[in-house]
C-alpha cells in the first residue's frame, strides 16, 4: 500500500474486511484494535482513537501513576494510532484480516514523544540527512516449550518442558532442531506471507532455545519485522498448544538475546564501513564504533530493560558484561566483521530478547551518531575472552538503578534521544524495580521468580 487513495482497491483485492492495528508501547508490547475496514478508512490519516492508558501502562496493567509526561492525556483521554499504510498487509491465514503498524499521535497528528517507533524514524531521518542509510539484520533468540500457555500458567511456570531432544546445552544440533520443525514450518509460512524475510533458524545454546535470523533491511522495517515475528510466533505457539517466549531469562543459565547486525551505506547503497586500505574498517565505522563503546553503559537500560534481562549479564553465559569490542569476538559487546567490503558490519550483542526493538535501534543509532558527530576514536580492540576479567576492568551496570543512572548521566544519548524521553523511561524502570522488590521478587535468588514469569513470559 502506498497511499490512502488506493486503500479501498487494496482492501477489495485482498478481501480484507478487518484491519488489526498494532503499535508498540515503550515496554515493547503490541497494542491495537480489530477495526472494520470502513472505520479504518474513515479515520485516516490520523487513525482511530485509543486510550492514553494503552501507552502509559506497565506490563501488569498498572498505569504510570507515579510520573508524568506532557504528552500524556489529563484523564486517560484518547490518543490515536496513525496507520503507516506502507505496512498494510493481509494475514494469509485469516482470510478477511489485514494488519497495519501504527504510530502513537495526538489529536493534531503530532507524534507522541513516548512513541518509540516515531523516535526511531526520527533518528533514521537524521542518518539520511547526513547521507547515510543503515541496514539492520536481527537475530531473535527464543525458548519453545511443549506445554500450552494455559498449562504453564496453571502450574505457575514450574517444570518447563523444552521442545528439544537432548537435555544437554549443545548448540546447532540438528537433532535438537528437528522437534521444532513443524512449529517453525508454520511460523515461516506465516512470516513469508506477511513479507517478513528470514535467512536461517537453528538450535541454540540453551536447552529448548532456538534462534531465527531475519534478513537485513532498514531500521524501522527491521523493528517492525521483530514485532511482527514475535506476534506470529506467539500465535503459532498458541494455535499448536505450545509456548514460545522471548523473555530474557525464562530459565537460569543462558538467556535470550537479540543480536543486532548493522552497517551504514551511502544514499547510493555503497557500503561505508569498509576500507581496504586500512584494517578493513573505515573512519566512519571506527567513529560509529567509538560512539557505541562510549555510550554502552548508558544504553544498557534500553537494551536490557527488565530485571529479568539484567540477570542475563553474567560471565560465560553468552551475553557481554563489559563494553569491549573486538574483531570476530563473540565475548565482547561489539563484534566487528571487517574482512569483506559488502559484509563489513558490527554485531551488537547486548540487547536482551525482551528489548523494545525500536528503542534498541534508537539507542544504537544515537550512540553511533554521537561517535560520528564527536569524531570519537575507539579504544584498542579486545582480542581476548571478555569474561571473567579482573576487577579493574569496568563492567556494564547490571542493576536497574545503576543502568538508569548511567543513561541519565550520558549527555550524548540524552541529546539524541531527548531528555524528556530518557527521564520518563528511567522513571518507568524505577517502577519495574520497585514493584519487583515489593511484590515478592528476590534479587539474591538464582531462580527466576514467579513475579518475573507472570509479568514477562506470555507478553514479551
Amino acid at each position: 500500500m502506498e497511499d490512502s487513495t488506493s486503500l479501498s482497491d487494496w482492501l477489495d483485492r485482498h478481501h480484507v474486511d478487518i484491519v488489526r492495528t498494532f503499535a508498540t508501547t515503550l515496554d515493547g508490547v503490541g497494542v491495537g484494535k480489530y477495526v472494520h475496514r470502513n472505520k479504518f478508512a474513515s479515520t485516516l490519516p490520523r487513525g482511530h482513537a485509543i486510550s492514553d492508558m494503552a501507552a502509559a501502562m506497565d506490563l501488569a496493567g498498572t498505569p504510570h501513576l507515579t510520573f508524568w509526561h506532557e504528552d500524556r492525556q489529563p484523564a486517560f483521554g484518547d490518543i490515536y494510532l496513525r496507520p503507516d499504510l506502507t505496512t498494510l498487509i493481509s494475514d494469509g491465514t485469516d482470510s478477511n484480516l489485514g494488519h497495519c503498524i501504527c504510530d502513537f499521535v495526538d489529536a493534531a497528528e503530532q507524534p507522541s514523544s513516548l512513541c518509540s517507533r516515531s523516535l526511531l524514524r526520527h533518528l533514521t531521518n537524521d542518518l539520511a540527512d547526513r547521507g547515510y542509510q543503515m541496514k539492520v539484520g536481527i537475530e531473535l533468540e527464543f525458548f519453545l516449550f511443549q506445554d500450552s500457555y494455559d498449562a504453564l500458567r496453571r502450574r505457575q511456570y514450574r517444570h518447563l518442558n523444552p521442545v528439544t531432544q537432548s537435555h544437554h546445552s549443545n548448540v546447532y544440533l540438528v537433532r535438537n532442531a528437528y522437534p521444532a520443525t513443524s512449529y517453525m514450518r508454520e511460523v515461516i509460512s506465516r512470516l513469508e506471507w506477511k513479507g517478513v524475510h528470514w535467512e536461517a533458524w537453528n538450535d541454540e545454546a540453551a536447552t529448548g532455545q532456538f534462534e531465527l535470523n531475519l534478513e537485513p533491511t532498514h531500521p524501522v522495517a527491521a523493528a517492525d519485522n521483530v514485532m511482527r515475528t514475535r506476534q506470529i510466533m506467539y500465535e503459532v505457539a498458541h494455535d499448536m498448544d505450545l509456548a514460545v517466549t522471548f523473555m530474557a531469562m525464562p530459565r537460569t543459565g543462558i538467556g535470550n538475546g537479540m543480536h543486532i547486525h548493522h552497517s551504514l551505506a551511502d544514499v547510493e547503497d555503497r557500503p561505508l564501513f569498509h576500507d581496504q586500505t586500512t584494517n578493513g574498517r573505515s573512519t566512519t565505522m571506527e567513529q560509529w564504533l567509538a560512539g557505541l563503546v562510549t555510550t554502552m553503559p548508558g544504553a544498557v537500560s534500553m537494551l536490557c530493560p527488565s530485571i529479568n534481562a539484567l540477570r542475563r549479564l553474567k560471565d560465560f553465559a553468552a551475553a557481554p558484561t563489559t563494553s569491549h569490542w573486538g574483531e570476530d569476538n563473540k565475548t565482547a559487546s561489539l563484534r566487528t566483521m571487517s574482512s569483506s567490503s559488502h559484509s563489513t558490519r558490527i554485531e551488537h550483542r547486548l540487547a536482551a530478547g525482551d528489548a523494545n526493538p525500536y528503542l534498541a535501534l534508537a539507542v544504537i543509532i544515537a550512540g553511533g551518531l554521537a561517535g560520528i558527530d564527536q569524531q570519537l576514536v575507539p579504544p584498542e580492540p579486545f582480542d581476548g575472552i571478555a569474561w571473567g576479567l579482573p576487577k579493574h576492568y569496568d563492567r556494564l551496570p547490571d542493576t536497574v538503578p545503576a543502568a538508569s543512572q548511567a543513561l541519565l548521566d550520558d549527555a550524548l544519548l540524552s541529546e539524541q534521544l531527548g531528555t524528556d524521553l530518557v527521564e520518563y523511561w528511567t522513571k518507568s524502570r524505577r517502577q519495574e524495580w520497585l514493584l519487583f522488590h515489593r511484590e515478592g521478587g528476590d534479587p539474591d535468588s538464582p531462580d527466576i521468580s514467579q513475579w518475573e514469569y507472570e509479568r514477562y513470559f506470555d507478553l514479551i
Binding site: L65, T66, W68, R72, H437, G440, D444
Partner: protein
C-alpha cells in the same frame, strides 16, 4: 549526645532505602536518638510477605543498613506495610538488644501536620507539582492549606494515613488505589505528587 549518622550499602534495594529514610526521619526525635545512640548490635528485619530483608547495624551512634542477613542475627519478622511485628527469632541470644529494638520500632513520626509542612517544603520545588494542596483530616475535621489555595489539589484521609503519606510511609497512587487516601485534582498533579511521595519513601526527596 552523639548525633546519629546513617549509611547504606552500595546498590541498595528499596527496603534498605525505605528503612534508612525512616531512620533519618526518626532521628529528629530525641527519644529515638537517645535509644539508637546507645545501641550496639545488629538486627535483621524480615518481611513476612516477601523476601525483603534489611539488616541494621548499630554502633556508637552510627547506623548502617544493608540487605543480606548475617547468620544467627536477631531477626524481627514483620508486616512491612503496617509495621506490625509478627515474631522475633534469636531473641534469647540477644535479650537486651531485642528489648531495645522493640522500643526502637515504635512510631516516632511527628504529627501529620508537621510532616505535611516538611514534605511540602521539598515537594513544592518539583516541576509539575500542584501550586497548592488542601488537606482534610477525617478524624477531627481539621484542614491544612499549603501553597497557593487556587487550583490546589485536595487530599483527604485519617490522621494516621495522612501521617503515613507525608511521613514517607505511603506512595500517594498506592494509597488512592487502596482507598486509604482520597484526592481531587488533575492527573498530572496526582502523578507528580505521587512521585514526590515515592521519593520521600526512598529518602530521595
Amino acid at each position: 549526645m552523639t548525633e546519629l549518622t546513617i549509611s547504606v550499602e552500595d546498590n541498595p534495594v528499596p527496603v534498605v532505602l525505605v528503612f534508612a529514610a525512616r531512620m533519618r526521619r526518626f532521628a529528629s526525635s530525641p527519644a529515638f536518638e537517645r535509644i539508637a545512640g546507645r545501641l550496639a548490635g545488629t538486627v535483621t528485619l524480615q518481611s513476612t510477605a516477601t523476601p525483603e530483608t534489611v539488616t541494621i547495624e548499630f554502633k556508637q551512634g552510627h547506623i548502617h543498613l544493608y540487605r543480606r542477613a548475617p547468620e544467627h542475627s536477631l531477626t524481627v519478622y514483620l508486616d512491612l506495610d503496617t509495621g506490625e511485628v509478627k515474631r522475633i527469632s534469636h531473641a534469647w541470644r540477644h535479650p537486651l538488644m531485642a528489648l531495645r529494638v522493640r522500643t526502637l520500632m515504635r512510631d516516632y513520626s511527628p504529627r501529620w501536620q508537621d510532616s505535611a509542612k516538611h514534605f511540602w517544603q521539598a515537594a513544592s520545588q518539583l516541576q509539575g507539582i500542584p501550586p497548592g494542596v488542601k488537606i482534610h483530616c477525617l478524624d477531627d475535621n481539621s484542614t491544612l492549606e499549603l501553597g497557593t489555595p487556587e487550583s490546589a489539589m485536595e487530599i483527604e484521609g485519617t490522621a494516621g494515613n495522612l501521617a503515613a503519606l507525608f511521613g514517607g510511609e505511603l506512595i500517594l497512587a498506592d494509597a488512592i488505589l487502596k482507598k486509604k487516601i482520597a484526592t481531587a485534582g488533575r492527573m498530572q498533579h496526582m502523578a507528580v505528587f505521587s512521585e514526590a511521595t515515592m521519593m520521600n519513601l526512598l529518602g530521595a526527596l
